[in-house]
């Protein structure tokens, strides 16, 4: 299950639930117009409990397409999401920012 909420300030999406084979197409099509437009896109993933390799591939494609036209911010990532970002080497993209919550 995945709920997608469009946000204006900051421009982006809030993703609640899980990105997998059942939901990845909706994630892809929600992100696509923002990537075409460019600029900074903030994905609030504080309530995204899971992302699979196809979801990570959507992020990779977005980062490639944005290139120097824009950047992607992953805000409030869970442990699981940070893990897949690291293991797939997404941190190598210069236009990706993983904005972890400051520890108290």
């Amino acid at each position: 299950m995945l709920e997608i909420i469009w946000t204006e300030e900051p421009k982006g999406l809030r993703l609640v639930g899980e990105v997998d084979l059942a939901t990845v197409e909706r994630f892809r099509s929600a992100l696509a117009p923002m990537v075409r437009e460019g600029g900074e896109i903030v994905l609030d993933i504080g309530d995204m409990r899971f992302i699979d390799s196809s979801g990570a591939q959507v992020l990779i494609r977005a980062l490639e397409n944005l290139s120097d036209r824009g950047r992607l911010v992953l805000a409030h990532p869970s442990r699981t999401v940070v893990r897949i970002v690291m293991i797939m080497g997404l941190q190598r993209f210069k236009n990706l920012e993983v904005r972890e919550d400051a520890s108290p």
């Binding site: 997998d20 899971f50 699981t80 293991i87």
Partner: protein, 132 residues
Amino acid sequence: MFRSQISRSFIADPAQLEEVRRFVSGAAERAGLSEQTTDDLVLAANEAATNSILHSGTKRFHVRWLALDDRVEIEIHDEGLFERRILMHQLDGSAGLGIPLMMSLTDELELHEGIPSRPGTRTRLVKFRTGS
């Protein structure tokens, strides 16, 4: 030493993946695995099940969980054929990351491809217990 084994069958439908993940995380919790190990196993099993649903043409697949003293094993077994093809990033888009991801997440990965004379692809994921 044998400890515990659980098996469950699933219909090959993307909506079932959530159930597969719940099955694995529940078993991992009962086996007392760390959060990190649990996450890795959930992710790896999800990729194997995704492959069965997407590529094998199977109607059902089976997940077997085996917890031993030194390791846990998850076997994902379908009734289909393994599509043997080299994936091209430019042509295949999001496909092709599942197997390398499973390799990075596990300590051992074994793939038995289903072929016409012996259908059924079997993926065995092994993770050794760490610490004490």
